[in-house]
């Protein structure tokens, strides 16, 4: 079985039942981050996943937060992207004009790390509202920097709980564009390359597995499923609001002992985002 993360010692693999789906999701997302790359992360689980990567396999990753912090290496988990915890011992504390208007726009961000309320088969993300935008059933906080990151990072990684009402055929509002998104002139859905955009979603990491996007159709497919948690490709199909290809699905390696230990004792010991 292919794994994205080299186990130091096979005996160190933790038994199923001793970790949660949320922990598996964060561990899997953190493994997708590469050592040395520039990662622009949003508040919440992306922040947790990025700091887990920094404390495990990617110590040289440069974590950037849109409000103020470049190469953040906090002692304590920031609870938002402007938290003094993220600024402490950072090497550069600019503003969002420099981070979002310059670093991101000039193509220097390798990976953007995002969450949201809904995702569709093309990786469009909604973090704005449920229901029609002009008369919403439920209104959320809004884009923040998510739209900017989805448009201008070299690639994005999305984390989301795997539920039918979240993995939808069409998002209620495109906050953050994916592979096939809105042409503002025709209002039709077109390939992002037709709009002159680079980047695009690389993976969606859910509580059930890792989804990727087909190179030709740009539709979401299941790459890995969290078999140790009892997830099957069929279960992912049942919990997705659109027809999702599972023909390429592989079983995924569970968390290693050190990953869970770092997550629980160093990255988020209070369970601020992990809610232990």
């Amino acid at each position: 079985m292919a794994t994205l993360f080299k186990q130091k010692d096979e005996a160190q693999i933790v038994p199923s039942g001793s970790y949660s789906q949320l922990e598996m999701m964060v561990v899997a997302a953190s493994r997708l981050l590469k050592n040395g790359e520039v990662a622009l992360v949003g508040t919440g689980l992306p922040l947790v996943g990025a700091f887990l990567a920094k404390h495990t396999h990617a110590p040289e990753i440069i974590i950037v937060m849109e409000a103020v912090a470049f190469d953040s290496k906090p002692f304590s988990l920031p609870f938002c992207v402007a938290d003094p915890r993220g600024v402490y011992q950072t090497t550069w504390a600019p503003t969002s004009v420099e981070i979002m208007g310059q670093l991101l726009q000039s193509g220097r961000v390798d990976t953007g790390f995002l969450g949201g309320a809904q995702v569709d088969k093309y990786g469009n993300l909604n973090s704005t509202c449920i229901g029609p935008y002009l008369s919403p059933k439920k209104r959320f906080e809004g884009s923040g920097g998510a739209c900017d990151i989805a448009v201008m990072a070299q690639k994005t990684i999305i984390t989301m709980a795997h539920e039918k009402q979240r993995f939808v055929n069409q998002v209620d509002y495109i906050t953050s564009p994916g592979w096939k998104c809105r042409d503002h002139r025709t209002k039709e859905m077109v390939d992002r390359s037709k709009l002159g955009m680079w980047g695009g979603p690389f993976a969606v990491v859910s509580t059930m597995g890792i989804m990727k996007f087909d190179e030709d159709s740009h539709e979401m497919y299941v790459d890995y499923y969290f078999s140790e948690l009892g997830v099957t490709p069929q279960l992912i199909r049942e919990n997705s609001g659109f027809d999702i290809d599972v023909s390429r699905a592989k079983a995924y390696a569970p968390p290693a002992v050190n990953e869970l230990e770092v997550l629980r004792t160093i990255v988020d010991p209070e369970g601020i985002f992990m809610k232990y």
Binding site: C80, T95, E141, G142, G144, R182, H184, R192, M197, E270
Partner: protein, 331 residues
């Protein structure tokens, strides 16, 4: 001294008029000018247009208190502490019912808009927004107000072909030109020089873009003490019109080097703001009946205020609990 910029909180807030556009400094739950916000509510200010990018509890409070009829923000919320229920409720009720309109932006475009304002330019180009519904012309929530409300640009965005290099289509976003900018800082000189630590966010650009800037600060210091290291200063005093010494003036948000977020406040506020009746009761108890900021701090209490004090080296308080459902538990 007649030309002094030092004034009381009441005087400073009286400079902010009904119907003006207002930029609140800081970032979500960090360094928000809360003392000013409570006083705006007490003075019954109406029809404000808020353009903070991004907004935190100060925006949710002002919306809930009925002081606002327009927001142009990329985010309104309390981060990990809970949802912005007043904002949510008013948007869900709709502008026909509430008279309140909201337009969505992004961190990058909100930043470029205030930068354009600071530069005296009418707009700024961006590669952002493409492919999203933020520029879907069918989904402009303030379409009917454009051309009528002078605080709003005549259209949300425009497009231009790059005339100089590759010829790609570029999106133009309009400048933000706030009437007033209100900032809470760690230190301000007695002539207005502002020194912000732990991240200035957009506060410098907003002061430059605004017609009038008011600064509340943890402490007012002599200008001479700020002259030894001018590179550590954020905003020249020339841009600042009013100064208020207001310790804990950003409570319950965090001020690097002074105090951390107050999780007890956020718990009480997010529980109360979930419905209109409880929110109004919260406003009476925490804003109207107290009458002024001093009484507010007395009500929060010395014990709690001291428990939030930041470690001066770290900038934050390493001992506060941050999970609202477990505040009473030992660390």
């Amino acid at each position: 001294m007649s030309n002094s910029k030092l004034m009381s909180l009441t005087e400073a807030v009286s400079l902010i008029k009904d119907g003006c556009s207002l930029f609140t400094g800081g970032w979500t739950v960090v360094r928000k000018p809360m003392g000013i916000v409570y006083e705006l509510i007490r003075q019954g200010r109406k029809n404000l247009a808020l353009v903070s990018n991004p907004g935190g509890p100060e925006i949710d409070l002002l919306i809930g208190a009925g002081c606002v009829n327009l927001t142009e923000c990329n985010y309104i919320g309390h981060e990990v502490f809970g949802h912005p229920y007043c904002f949510r409720r008013k948007v869900e009720e709709g502008p026909e019912v509430t008279g309140y309109y909201h337009d969505d932006w992004t961190v990058q475009t909100g930043s470029l808009r205030i930068l354009a304002g600071a530069m005296g330019l009418p707009f700024m180009p961006t590669f952002s927004l493409k492919g999203s519904d933020l520029i879907n012309p069918d989904l402009d929530p303030v379409k009917d107000l454009r051309g009528k409300d002078p605080r709003l640009p005549k259209s949300k965005v425009a497009f231009i072909k790059d005339p100089f290099w590759e010829g790609h289509e570029v999106t133009l976003v309009p400048a933000l030109r706030p009437d007033v900018c209100v900032i809470h800082a760690q230190e301000v000189g007695d002539k207005g020089t502002v020194r912000i630590k732990g991240g200035a966010f957009l506060d410098y650009y907003a002061a430059m873009a605004s017609k009038l800037t008011i600064v509340t600060a943890e402490r007012v210091v002599s200008e001479e003490s700020l002259q030894n290291t001018p590179e550590a200063n954020t905003i020249p005093g020339y841009l600042v019109h009013g100064i208020v010494e207001l310790p804990y003036g950003a409570h319950p948000t965090a001020v690097s080097g002074f105090y951390d977020n107050d999780p007890y406040w956020f718990r009480s506020y997010t529980v109360a703001s979930k419905n209109e009746i409880n929110f109004q009761a919260w406003l009476r108890e925490w804003v109207f009946e107290l009458g002024n900021f001093e009484n507010y701090l007395n009500k929060v209490g010395l014990k709690r205020l001291m428990s939030l004090r930041a470690n001066p080296v770290l900038g934050y308080n390493p001992n506060i609990r941050r999970r609202l459902d477990k505040l009473e538990e030992e660390m």
